[in-house]
């Protein structure tokens, strides 16, 4: 006898298919687990180059004094810290993350760095709790691949941007050279979980991070998704041979 109930919609969690309703909780589990060692994780995954990738995003964002910036999935607040300095006292930088542990870590780091008065918001990127047209710049660094409904998140970013505002997405992507891609695969699936086990005693979380990178849309697909969400002048900047890509798009209307 067949089950008359419609099948539950699923999405990917790394290489696993899980019910859509479960992904958020599972991602939360990973980040609860790695929050205190997040910087170490980034350094391990990128061999330290993530600092240069973030610097590029900061330069490309070109935030000016008085502007309002929203940093989604802000993690430990590396981008928020610079944006708060650039926006200055007349502007605003908001630290936002869906994960309370990460948000707490980010706030603590900002205070340690002497950056005070930065509002923190625990928010889901798919339905941001901000008024329409309230930011000049929205950024999301290494966060979009963990969002369950990426299209909804992109529409949400578009909604909160002022006309003329820009979105910058920094995310792991697809290497452009096939030979390099093979080496990168070996690194991601063999070396990275091993390092996770040895350094953080958390192999599963690091395996998920490597798998989630492979399941994330490639450069052209993400560009198309941004255009469908309403962004114009979308440009892709490949860094480190496409290991990471920065997508920038504008809300023009």
């Amino acid at each position: 006898m067949t089950d008359p109930r419609p099948p539950r919609p699923t999405t990917h969690f790394g290489f696993q298919e899980v019910p859509v309703t479960e992904k958020q909780a599972r991602v939360r589990g990973v980040f609860d687990s790695v929050a205190s060692r997040y910087d170490l994780m980034n350094d391990l995954m990128s061999m330290g180059v993530h600092r240069l990738w973030k610097r590029f995003v900061i330069d490309l964002a070109g935030v000016r004094a008085g502007e309002r910036v929203l940093d989604v999935a802000a993690g430990t607040g590396d981008l928020t810290r610079e944006f708060a300095r650039q926006a200055g006292p007349r502007g605003l930088a908001v630290l936002s993350d869906i994960n309370a542990a990460m948000l707490g870590e980010g706030r603590r780091r900002l205070v340690d760095a002497g950056v005070l008065g930065v509002p923190a918001a625990q928010a889901n990127a798919e339905c941001l709790p901000f008024a329409e047209a309230s930011f000049d710049c929205v950024t999301i660094g290494f966060g979009l691949r963990n969002v369950t409904d990426k299209d909804a998140a992109l529409r949400s970013f578009h909604r909160v941007l002022k006309p003329g505002g820009r979105l910058l997405v920094l995310e792991f992507s697809r290497p452009l050279n096939s030979g390099f891609a093979k080496v990168y695969d070996q690194y991601s699936f063999k070396l990275l979980p091993l390092m996770g086990r040895l350094v953080a005693n958390d192999e599963a979380s690091y395996r998920y991070l490597a798998e989630s990178i492979r399941m994330h849309p490639d450069q052209d697909t993400l560009k198309g998704m941004m255009e469908r969400a309403g962004f114009a002048r979308v440009q892709v900047y490949n860094l480190t041979g496409g290991v990471v890509a920065v997508h920038r798009g504008y809300r023009l209307e």
């Binding site: 590029f56 330069d59 490309l60 070109g62 000016r64 502007e67 000049d136 003329g164 002048r233 440009q235 892709v236 900047y237 490949n238 504008y250």
Partner: protein, 201 residues
């Protein structure tokens, strides 16, 4: 296609310069949506500069017809950039199509936004000390440039005359003339051999 990172580098540099002068940024806002296109002909690269309220965005693909287009070799475009840095508005051998006034206006904006150390120092240490310090710095950099130039000339002379690692200009010219004579002689010999072969046939 133009490397996107080249566009990003140019955009970041231009926006940092333009942001030095608030009045220039206000002009960017007034020019919002207008575009200047740079075409490096031999490479087939296009850099599309579009004005917006926060400066310019530089993209490798152009949407629609620009307001003004500059065409030239990559060397000519680099030359334009270097002249702009020296504050010389000349376009060199570049060909211009479209609204020349927009181009001249952009050049004036870049010139206005150039870093003036006196202006930066005055609010910190006062007008007169700022003027003296800026003069001192100019003198120091001028002396540095002069010293570097002299050092360069002396080194080049040593390598040419003493160690003979570099050739003198006159020697290079003689050698090039000799190569040219040899090439002409070889051409004449080849033509003579061809005639002899035809005569035998």
């Amino acid at each position: 296609m133009t490397p996107p990172l080249l566009c990003a580098g140019l955009e970041i540099a231009l926006n940092r310069t333009l942001a030095l002068e608030p009045a220039v940024l206000a002009q960017c806002q007034r020019l919002s949506g207008r575009r200047i296109e740079l075409c490096a002909e031999t490479l087939g690269w296009t850099l599309s500069l579009e004005f917006h309220a926060a400066g310019v965005r530089v993209l490798p693909v152009a949407e629609g017809e620009p307001d003004v287009r500059l065409r030239g070799s990559p060397a000519e475009l680099i030359g334009l950039g270097l002249r702009q840095l020296r504050g010389e508005p000349s376009l060199g051998g570049l060909r211009v199509e479209g609204d020349v006034e927009l181009l001249q206006r952009f050049q004036r904006m870049l010139a206005e936004a150039r870093l003036d150390p006196e202006e930066w120092l005055a609010p910190l240490i006062g007008d007169t000390p700022a003027h003296r310090l800026a003069q001192g710095l100019r003198g120091l950099f001028g002396w540095g440039r002069q010293s570097l130039s002299t050092l360069g000339l002396d080194t080049a002379e040593y390598l040419r005359e003493e160690t003979r690692d570099l050739a003198r200009a006159a020697d290079v010219e003689d050698w090039m003339q000799a190569v040219e004579t040899l090439r002409e002689d070889a051409d004449r010999l080849e033509a003579r051999l061809r005639r002899l072969e035809q005569a035998r046939a």
